[in-house]
Symmetry: C2
Amino acid sequence: MAANTGFQPNWIEAAPEKRSFRSIFKWGDPHSCKHPNEKLFQLLKETFGLTDSHFTVPVNDGNRPVAYRHPPRVITPDHAADIIRIVGDENVSADDYDRLKFSTGKTLEESLRLRQGEVQRVSDLVVHPRHKDDVRQLVAYCHQKKIPVYVYGGGSSVNFGLRPSKGGITLVMGTHMNRVVRLNETNQTVTVQAGIMGPDYEAALNEAPQRYRTRHRYTGGHFPQSFEFSSVGGWVVTLGSGQMSSYYGDACDLVISQEVVTPIGDIKTLDFPATANGPSIDRIMIGSEGCFGVLVEVTLKIFRYMPENRRYFSFVFPTWAKAVDAGREIAQGQFGMPAVFRISDEEETHIGLKLYGIDGTLLDRFMRLRGYQPMQRCLMIASAEGERRFAGNVKRGVKHICRHSGGMFLTGYPTRQWEPGRFKDPYLREDLNDYGILIETLDTAVTWDRIHRLHQGVRSVVKSRPDTLCMTHASHFYAQGTNLYFIFITRAENADDFVVFQEKIVQAILQFGGSPTHHHGIGKLFSPWMQSHLGAAQMAVLKALKHHFDPNTIMNPGGQLGLDLDGQHWREIR
Amino acid sequence: MAANTGFQPNWIEAAPEKRSFRSIFKWGDPHSCKHPNEKLFQLLKETFGLTDSHFTVPVNDGNRPVAYRHPPRVITPDHAADIIRIVGDENVSADDYDRLKFSTGKTLEESLRLRQGEVQRVSDLVVHPRHKDDVRQLVAYCHQKKIPVYVYGGGSSVNFGLRPSKGGITLVMGTHMNRVVRLNETNQTVTVQAGIMGPDYEAALNEAPQRYRTRHRYTGGHFPQSFEFSSVGGWVVTLGSGQMSSYYGDACDLVISQEVVTPIGDIKTLDFPATANGPSIDRIMIGSEGCFGVLVEVTLKIFRYMPENRRYFSFVFPTWAKAVDAGREIAQGQFGMPAVFRISDEEETHIGLKLYGIDGTLLDRFMRLRGYQPMQRCLMIASAEGERRFAGNVKRGVKHICRHSGGMFLTGYPTRQWEPGRFKDPYLREDLNDYGILIETLDTAVTWDRIHRLHQGVRSVVKSRPDTLCMTHASHFYAQGTNLYFIFITRAENADDFVVFQEKIVQAILQFGGSPTHHHGIGKLFSPWMQSHLGAAQMAVLKALKHHFDPNTIMNPGGQLGLDLDGQHWREIR
């Protein structure tokens, strides 16, 4: 390993210039960043054969004013005037910067293209509805005029879910429609406007006694990595999942009822936690990714917030196979589920121990002495929540199983090391990209009986690319299976080169028995595989629903969920 | 209370005559019965002002050969010949007894009419498919010829779900399609043919080590009162729920994947426990009650069978309000859910203590001494399952909450008294009906904030009928609400008189904020209220799906789920 020379890479710390490309593609808070630590920096240099001098002048930092020429494609001045009459002048923008900002998600590909100043698709007009009646009028108007409607929640889509492939308008939900409508403590539910962002949502629940005079504090239990910059509505319409969902349930499990504005009218579902009224309309709207309508309000389950009961624990296993066995046994053990619950494969453990500052410590040496070797050992980090004894019993059950599976208890230290940065890792991307190193993720659902075949199959494809890191973890556990989340770090000539590589990985995921995604949604990115994955019969059901709700194909058209593609590839749609 | 005179009512114990009406409407095993015990008998006499002499000669016992004149309405000899070519002669019956048997569910109304020899709707032809390919060919044939297709699982429908309103054929799933296809221990799932009955299903799982060489024994965790005479497929397509579903989940929570034969082809869903592939096709097929297609195979979650860990406990509360408070607190407490979990209202507690043999015992006197008075006190019976300490902690948590809510611990005795008869209560109906006393049930879902309004509102309607008993319990608990299960015992002039009363109760349930049913499904019985309950927009979605899967309206036509009614009442359809 290269010696630490005291060299400090020239990571960019300044907030992006106002109205710059960088201000659009950069993750999160403009003033926040997370630099690779020394260990990771050394690893990157080794992996890619780079020297310190490579890290002195950022390239393609995109820190220049947004400029492009994409005239409106659908919206005429008359349309704009009509829309202004609905929502008011101050809630409509045809400004080029706004148009691009609200047309852009957080894929690596978008970031790479914007660094080069390459703008692909933009909305014609950005609209900030004030309330659900605005949405109703806008959708009805666009339905009548056949104007495409896209929806922007938190903007954290990693699948081109908000790409306005056909122009038209983009509704920004978070500007005004970001409030708690009511908290029902008796039913333990909260009703919110769809545009409320994660931290506001969670704060409202945590502070419920002060804000709503409730007896208890509450939590939503939903903490995706994008938590700080994603909306509750986005979680629901994309079938999201969070870092504690093994305990609290995925977004689809949290929804009690919804109000969705569709081109043919409102769908307002009922608030029974379970009933036998025929097929679930809720589960038709959840995951519909803006193709059927605009989610305006949603009622969700909430949970008592009892951080005082939280327990942390972690383990190291001699091999990935042993870690997986333990993970499955825990998920099937019927003693309650951990909240945070992750197992990292050999390579992710190797890099993770560097990231969490454990590599090279006394703990690391102790692990090695006990036979847990680098690039073989696998880390499990976990926590338990809920009532005090319940959480304690989960910890006890996990310990019991892990010991029987060759695991060594590492105390709660690694979990505690992981926790403060759990929403911060996406910030790493800018630093890496600034020096031509690419990082992206793909995640997939998998049953227990296919996990090793899938893991090995996908890894072999990723690693067949020279000088490529591939870290994998499982972070959402069910008795029947889990997910695999692949993080790959590589270099590529350009965005197109990267896209070819990414497609190869998706194909491998599907070939080896995974689903296109466990919790990122389909968007447009995975649409080419929808029909072959689900089969024509299931796709026909989704298309029939699409036709029912959106006969003029105005809702998120241009490939979303693969519902409106007639043999075209989504990238080709104009 | 009338003294016990030693009189023994002349309850019928003999099995019904072969090929009699009684053999069709009688619940369950022909040789089994459950008589009202002495306490209940006394209560019935008091309530309805009857003397012992009333119970000497059964009336309208229906113990005579089935005879009716309903010529086939759709099926021609040519059709029958074609169908015989598909499934073989031995798997087709046009016999009048078979036609009626497989056209009849278990509503009180059907029983009352058959006692009088009144036959309303019968299938033209009974068909026993041998395997899913038979079903495929039959459905394709009927689609082409526009022949209605009805499906008979266990025959326990309480909503006319299998009534062949328009003639055509009835598929009997349990004759041949009743096997375990495979048990996947790694994924903790089992795949079964839809016609497998509850006890066969559970036995296969309990005995998995012997039968399938598994490491563990398993349970399906699904125990509806109809368990012994209902099919796994029926549980799924009607959104069923069982006596332990508060812990194991409702049928909809148990399904991993399905194979459904529809008129336009097969729907075969994937086996991921969770994935983000858009709207849930599984949740479209679950609860579709035979309107979209025929469920032929289903893969379900299973659970480790650990009866050695089971804990029993029960409590008495001074009032219904206190029992409800405790039930809600338990469901929201985040320490795990009890498996059996029931609270009975004042009147059900009063009658239940008689039924379970507790009334008049030392325990009863002790309760009274401690201030738990008849017609005020309410009983909670419960059990816990799962891993040993988990189950223990559930019991501990429940005790803690119940004590804080004024409950007195009654040990596990009442739960143990209830348990052996938990599938047997439906047998009571024949005895009561034999003497002109009617008993029927309606169940509804309810949120916690509407439970008292609903309970009181429905009770007041039921009790406004003279000499009517109304017992109510909640037996399925969620953090957001529960169900109310109303059992009413009354006398009526005839079936039509009863139907008017029943409709009044359904209207009250909906008026006071319940759903048409929590776990009995909609069938045809509740179809008149579907549109007003769900709203036109949700109904339009279900109708669009109906049109997609079944463009010729052959699947369970004539009112099922209210999907093919054009202003007609289902009873009027011919």
